[in-house]
């Protein structure tokens, strides 16, 4: 049994454990070349397009003058000469096309550079979460589900990065087995004073 009482992770311990993750890594890196041919991890590409983990990504292509939903439709589609346009991860993708304003949150990158340099240090994606309780258990979700209701948009199809592509798209109801981690806390009962081993 896992105890609900856990110590806060220290930086050093996390680093040490993190290094341990690398054990077994050899030449099996999955290459994800970007448009310039550079090999970057999915995590890296993901971070590049976001101000911080949780921010809406910027649009990674130039404007084609078309409605977003023309390509980013319910299932996503291949766009000749550009690549695969994934479906929107937002709820209701199917019907949303005409009444959703994508560019309220997603903007084009029209230029490099900055108006003034920034000292902002963002929140980065945390890969310590989204783990399995036991080998073979379904992993929990390492991100919030708000605005990410349509799991298959990112986790299935040609648009899904290999690292996060589901092995079982045919099962459909993802959230039957995979649950979001909404709070980084565990249950601590007020009951059982003096009743359990070790006491309280």
């Amino acid at each position: 049994m896992r105890s609900p009482h856990r110590a806060r992770l220290t930086r050093g311990a996390a680093a040490a454990a993190g290094l341990a993750l690398l054990a077994g890594c050899g030449g099996d890196t999955v290459p994800v070349p970007d448009q310039d041919g550079a090999v970057k991890s999915a995590t890296h590409v993901r971070a590049e397009r976001r101000a911080y983990d949780g921010a809406p990504p910027t649009i990674p292509h130039e404007s084609f003058g078309a409605r977003c939903a023309a390509c980013h439709n319910a299932r996503g589609q291949s766009v000749s000469g550009v690549g695969f346009a994934p479906a929107s991860p937002h709820d209701d993708t199917e019907r949303a096309g005409g009444t959703t304003r994508c560019r309220q949150c997603h903007v084009f990158v029209t230029t490099g550079g900055q108006f003034v340099a920034s000292e902002y240090e963002p929140l980065e994606q945390d890969l310590r979460y989204g783990g399995r309780a036991t080998p073979g258990a379904p992993p929990t979700m390492p991100h919030r589900t708000l605005m990410r209701e349509n799991c298959v948009a990112c986790h299935d199809g040609p648009g899904a990065r290999e690292e996060v592509r589901t092995t079982h798209p045919e099962r459909w109801r993802c959230r039957q087995c995979h649950v979001p981690v909404t709070e980084r806390e565990t249950f601590g009962s007020e009951l059982g004073e003096g009743l359990t081993e070790g006491g309280r």
Binding site: R2, P4, H5, R6, R8, L9, A14, A15, A17, G18, L19, L21, L22, C25, T29, V32, S41, H44, A51, D53, A55, P56, T58, R95, A96, T99, T100, R101, Q104, V107, T110, T111, Q114, F115, V116, A117, S118, Y120, E121, P122, L123, E124, Q125, L127, R128, Y129, G130, G131, R132, P139, P142, R144, L146, E162, E163, V164, E185, T186, F187, G188
Partner: protein, 789 residues
């Protein structure tokens, strides 16, 4: 049952990470060892810093830095959604050029001084001006971004301490016409409806309002309603196509400034077709009529000193224009509206007759809830008060008011335009809770609450914004202090307020970044921004929202309210701010709140604000009011009354329907200047861009100012998108790149320039004509010509 916070251990997730590739594992190792992760953040609530929507955000902090935000799912305003500006709030705080220390202009440069020196200097400058030139020679100019504390400290210090009413906000440029609109009709400011109107309504009529870009999260609520109820219609009445038009069921393109004719045309048809809700009108409405003579009203002070303008427009007597209302009647209205036949209105507006009929049908259809929405297009208008009146008239005549899903809804552009400017009362003539300095009883009440001698508050309103800056240039105002605003970008016809420091006057600018306004200052004070301090804002739907300080401000930056109180104390006015240095927010707020209680303006208690995602006033017995003046919602209305406009004591507790004619704009295109110029915002940047341009993603999305041209005009001028053109008005000229078929598409003969780019200032071109009732200038209509560069 209590839950306790415990962190998941790495052990549990290692297996999960193993599902990722090796490159991701490297990434994971890196992140586990350094960087900031979600679990390390402390989250707290705050309203967004930018527009008047007042979205709830959660602010994630670690090691004294805001690392992330997320939409607050508990906020009834946005329910977890934000716009691109809101999602990128953290970067706004961390531009490397944040102002950190008080800086005094010395010789050709700046000298860092201590806060003590700075505050002593400000106090002595104010004292000197008071002694030598009297209370009208000092001024403070804030904004709708002032927190309730900043605004309250400013108004109390000025009116209760310096005996001067020269306290003004930039909101004069923004929603003063909405204030005069609501005051003339209900004798109480601010809308009766709330954001739930966006789910409850059937038809949404946007009057000159690009809601998709300017109030995007509220627009999303309307789109969600439309998605679920395909019968929902969006009507876009505008002078150019915008992203809002893409979602509209009907686009009504009108000639700039013709909206009053259009509204009167709709009223004409409502009467002709018997669509008046006579029972409602009999019970709840009185008819009023004001001065309508164009020659008597004029267009504000335009031309008063002939600065390249038409001096024949005449000066002083129009400048002091006061409207005089008299009683009118339905019968008189019928006669008045005879001039506004669909055919004549079509001629003035350039709107097809068919569309005028459709609009009348829509407003007249009792089975459908109609919500009218407006913001700057109606407010920044030489007849802004009148246009506010006419929109509300449409609702009064049809009884579509104070009901869920049927209301005239004025949107605001700044986060506390309502909470601070309108409720605390930082306009030159206002006191808290709808009171005004011209009223002796109101002054007496304020003097009593403030504990100052009777007769302290002067009965004459101070300078309004346009007048204040001119008085500063003339030298009638000797010392001016600006906070949370950037007037040397945002005032129309900037040519009139060009200043060289060292002109014998003294300008203090409190801000968070260098701007064109700090460039002309004598003293620059560094301010704390947003969650670097405790605050209260009030949004467009009467929601008062509180936030705690989440991080320290950089360097020696301090709260604007603190700066004001410290200067007041150095001038011997400690008695105005008698609270402990480390605990003054709550007592100051509760003192302010005492103004509002029992008047139908009751704001929530401080404790309740802390515990909730804000509450809609009036808050009585801890319960908020979603629909003002409505039985069953508003505790001041008796259950059997239906609707009761109880604040309008001067009208027998009825709402006033104002007959208002159409007048042409102050300046229209002619042979020499053949194009209309409209100015405004874009989604990605907020106002003068001093905050949003420092956010990489927003800057990279929209980098610089431009002028939108119609394709046919561009072809005629042989200009392509991206090519530089010169835009010239009677006031000035400006070079900037052309944009053809961008997000906004003006019709032929019209151009549009956004005002966020401090190096390309459209206010060098704009006209400083204004609404002579609200004193709000018109940024939307003047004449320019376009030249190839």
């Amino acid at each position: 049952m209590k839950r306790r916070k415990f962190l998941e251990t790495l052990g549990a997730s290692a297996a999960g990470v193993a599902a990722f590739s090796c490159s991701d594992r490297e990434e994971a190792a890196r992140l586990a060892g350094q960087g900031v992760s979600d679990a390390d953040l402390t989250w707290s609530k705050a309203p967004c810093r930018y527009c008047g929507t007042g979205c709830g955000v959660e602010v994630g902090v670690k090691d004294g830095m805001v690392r992330a935000v997320r939409g607050d799912v508990k906020s009834p305003v946005n329910r977890g959604l934000l716009c691109v500006k809101g999602y990128h709030l953290p970067g706004m705080l961390y531009g490397e050029d944040r102002l950190q220390y008080p800086m005094l202009r010395e010789g050709g440069g700046w000298k860092r001084i201590s806060w003590d020196e700075a505050l002593d200097l400000v106090a002595s400058k104010y004292q000197e001006a008071l002694d030598q030139h009297g209370p009208e020679s000092v001024a403070i100019y804030g904004s709708g971004q002032w927190t309730v504390f900043d605004g309250y400290a400013a108004t109390k210090w000025f009116r209760g301490g310096l005996r001067s009413n020269n306290v003004e906000p930039n909101a004069r440029l923004c929603m003063a016409s909405a204030v005069t609109g609501f005051m003339t009709q209900f004798q109480s400011d601010e809308p009766m409806g709330c954001y739930e109107d966006f789910e409850e309504g059937d038809d949404f009529v946007m009057w000159g309002n690009n809601m998709a870009e300017m109030h995007p999260v509220l627009f999303s609520r309307i789109l969600a309603n439309k998605r679920q109820n395909p019968g929902v219609r969006i009507i876009d009445i505008a002078t150019r196509r915008t992203p809002t038009t893409d979602y509209a069921d009907m686009y009504v393109e009108m000639v700039p400034g013709s909206d009053l004719a259009l509204a009167n045309g709709i009223l004409h048809l409502l009467l002709r077709n018997g669509k008046v809700d006579s029972a409602f009108v009999r019970e709840n409405v009185v008819f009023k009529r004001g001065i309508e003579d164009l020659d008597r009203i004029g267009y504000g002070s335009w031309g008063e000193d002939g600065l390249g303008l038409d001096p024949s427009d005449g000066p002083a007597e129009r400048y002091g224009f006061r409207d005089q209302g008299r009683n009118s009647s339905m019968r008189e209205l019928e006669r008045f509206l005879r001039d506004y036949t669909p055919e004549r209105v079509s001629e003035i507006c350039g709107v097809p007759v068919q569309q005028i009929y459709q609009l009348a049908e829509l407003y007249g259809d009792r089975s459908r809830g109609t919500v009218s929405l407006w913001c700057m297009g109606v407010n920044q208008h030489t007849r802004g008060t009148w246009m506010n009146n006419l929109i509300t008239d449409l609702h009064l005549l049809t009884g579509k008011i104070s009901r869920p899903g049927a209301n005239p809804f004025s949107l605001t552009g700044q986060p506390s335009a309502c909470g601070t400017v309108r409720e605390v009362g930082t306009l030159a003539h206002r006191l808290p809770a709808d009171m005004v300095v011209m009223n002796a009883e109101h002054r007496a009440k304020a003097e009593e609450i403030w504990g100052v001698p009777p007769g302290t508050i002067p009965p004459r309103p101070g300078y309004h914004t346009m007048d204040m800056f001119r008085a500063f240039m003339r030298g009638d105002v000797r010392v001016m202090w600006t906070q949370t605003t950037n007037p040397w970008v945002s005032i129309p016809n900037l040519n009139r307020i060009q200043r060289e420091p060292g002109d014998g006057k003294f300008l203090v600018v409190s801000d968070i970044y260098p701007t064109p306004s700090t460039e002309v200052a004598d003293l620059v004070l560094p301010s704390a921004a947003w969650v670097e301090r405790e605050g209260v804002f009030g949004n467009s739907e009467r929601r008062t929202q509180h936030w705690h300080k989440a991080v320290d401000p950089p360097g020696e930056a301090t709260e604007d309210a603190w700066q004001i109180m410290e200067v007041a104390k150095r001038m011997g006015m400690e008695h105005l701010f008698p609270w402990p240095d480390d605990d003054w927010h709550e007592p100051m707020y509760e003192e302010y709140r005492s103004f509002t209680l029992g008047l139908g303006k009751d704001v929530a208690s401080y404790q309740q604000l802390k515990d909730t995602r804000g509450l809609l006033w009036p808050v009585v017995d801890g319960v908020e009011t979603r629909y003002r003046y409505a039985a069953g919602h508003d505790p001041y209305v008796q259950k059997d009354r239906g609707v009761h406009f109880y604040k309008a004591k001067g009208y027998g507790e009825k709402a006033a329907f104002w007959l208002r004619p159409w007048h042409p704009p102050a300046e229209s295109p002619d042979e020499e200047y053949p194009y209309w110029l409209c100015t405004g915002r874009v989604l990605e940047h907020w106002h003068t861009g001093s905050m949003t341009r420092r956010v990489r993603q927003l800057h990279q999305a929209v980098t610089e100012g431009y002028v939108e041209l119609n394709r046919a005009d561009a072809q005629r001028l042989s200009v392509t998108s991206g090519q530089m053109v010169r835009v010239v008005s009677r006031r000035g000229s400006l070079e900037l790149p052309a944009k053809v078929d961008g997000r906004g598409k003006p019709p032929q003969g019209s151009v549009f320039i956004p005002f966020f780019d401090e190096s390309r200032l459209p206010n060098l071109l704009t006209l400083d004509a204004m609404d002579n009732i609200s004193k709000e200038p018109d940024f939307k209509k003047c004449a320019v010509r376009i030249e190839r560069v």
